[in-house]
């Protein structure tokens, strides 16, 4: 005889959210909300419940809600996380959960920041394939050549890394980890011919040398990219003067 499973208990979770309405507030203010949550719910579900059932004025970004679009990066209990990937059961719910906008970018409303400075430095590193040959046929690349920059292809541009970087907080000119990660993705791509241009750009005063190796970015990345390692590899490439890529070897082992 099958034993009926006990129904999963919902419990009350308190969220304290840093609210800011530029038309009313002089300064941001902390507001607390109680929500009924299941352990398998995410912080995003709690935000939805608040917005849909308690206070429709709460503003935050989210698109896919499944950790791919990179819209809902926010500071949850002092750490940069994606609200859609942070489960309630992984947080200490005996304490209130503090949620605020990511730091270092201009606050627009509640959990929404102006992402323009972030994308400006992203555009500056020329995040597109630069190749002189006409694309009449496939550009061949070996598995080993692809593996070198595999990690940095995972970036979803959520800004969790850049807005966790203390250098970025104090120095608005610094490219920030995300831009360097995306430069890494092309610098170490054997099909790309613009690595010298990008290495020159990142050899700037506000380029890779501002990185203090605090590892905040690696810790914050929701995609698990080893950001600090990627920055270190770019530093080495700048010192060497080239990315030092292996030759094409298609021998099947």
């Amino acid at each position: 005889m099958a034993v009926a499973e006990a129904p999963v208990q919902a419990f009350t979770v308190t969220l304290i959210i840093r609210r800011f309405d530029p038309e009313v507030d002089e300064e941001p203010r902390w507001v607390d909300y109680d929500v009924q949550m299941y352990p398998t719910d995410r912080v995003l579900d709690a935000l939805h419940q608040i917005k849909w059932e308690q206070d429709g004025s709460l503003s935050f970004r989210r698109s896919c809600a499944h950790g791919i679009c990179g819209s809902d990066a926010m500071r949850i209990n002092g750490r940069n996380r994606l609200a859609c990937k942070t489960l309630i059961k992984d947080l200490d719910i005996s304490q209130p959960i503090y949620v605020e906008a990511i730091k270092g970018l201009p606050l627009e409303k509640d959990l929404i920041v102006d992402m323009e400075p972030f994308f400006e430095s992203y555009r500056a590193i020329q995040p597109f394939l630069i190749a002189s040959d006409k694309p009449y046929k496939e550009r061949i690349q070996s598995v080993a050549q692809r593996a070198i920059f595999d990690d940095t292809t995972k970036c979803i541009l959520c800004a969790a890394c850049t807005s966790s970087c203390p250098v970025f907080w104090t120095d608005g000119q610094y490219f920030g980890p995300a831009a360097i990660v995306n430069a890494h993705r092309f610098i170490f791509d054997s099909r790309d011919e613009g690595s010298q241009v990008r290495l020159d750009i990142l050899n700037d005063k506000e380029g890779v040398w501002r990185c203090r190796t605090t590892f905040n970015c690696s810790e914050a990345c929701p995609r698990g990219i080893e950001v600090t390692k990627a920055i270190a590899e770019v530093k080495q490439a700048v010192l060497r003067g080239n990315p030092g890529l292996p030759r094409l070897d298609l021998t099947v082992v």
């Binding site: 555009r123 500056a124 020329q126 597109f128 203390p166 250098v167 104090t170 120095d171 020159d200 750009i201 050899n203 700037d204 005063k205 380029g207 040398w209 501002r210 203090r212 530093k235 700048v238 010192l239």
Partner: protein, 147 residues
């Protein structure tokens, strides 16, 4: 009427290439001098505080004895220059992080001044040190009399 769809060229901002990239050399210096300082500082601590009579051995005569040996003069000179510039460069980075505008310039000038004064004084002491200036202590008196 013909309509043109002008697509602006991708961002190709040209960076002024400086002859010397100080930011890169500064970073590299911190790494290289950091490794050297690990050796130099632990050697310094070992000889001064651990070997022989340990920390109790340190007095004017101990320092005078060390500086009579050219090896230790060179050793201390390396330690002085590497450590002071390493520290000053670190302070420069912190100032660049946290101070802005005129305050930043004031701090940087003060830092540069302090570094130059300390390097000059330290180098002067190491190169012109004479244990017999003034009234020599009891341990050094026979040595100085012999000179």
């Amino acid at each position: 009427m013909a309509t043109s769809t002008a697509i602006p060229a991708p961002n190709t901002r040209q960076l002024k290439r400086r002859r010397v990239n100080w930011e890169m050399w500064g970073w590299l210096y911190m790494r290289v001098s950091g490794v050297l300082l690990v050796v130099l500082i632990f050697g310094h601590l070992l000889v001064n505080l651990f070997l022989g009579d340990g920390v109790k051995a340190i007095d004017f005569a101990f320092v005078a004895g060390k500086l009579a040996d050219p090896f230790w003069v060179v050793y201390d000179m390396l330690l002085l220059w590497f450590a002071l510039i390493h520290g000053a460069n670190g302070m420069r980075t912190i100032i660049n992080d946290y101070a802005h505008g005129r305050l930043r310039i004031v701090f940087l000038v003060a830092l540069a001044g302090a570094t130059i004064v300390l390097l000059t004084l330290g180098t002067l002491v190491l190169t012109t040190f004479d244990p017999c200036i003034g009234e020599p202590s009891a341990t050094l008196a026979p040595l100085c009399a012999a000179q």
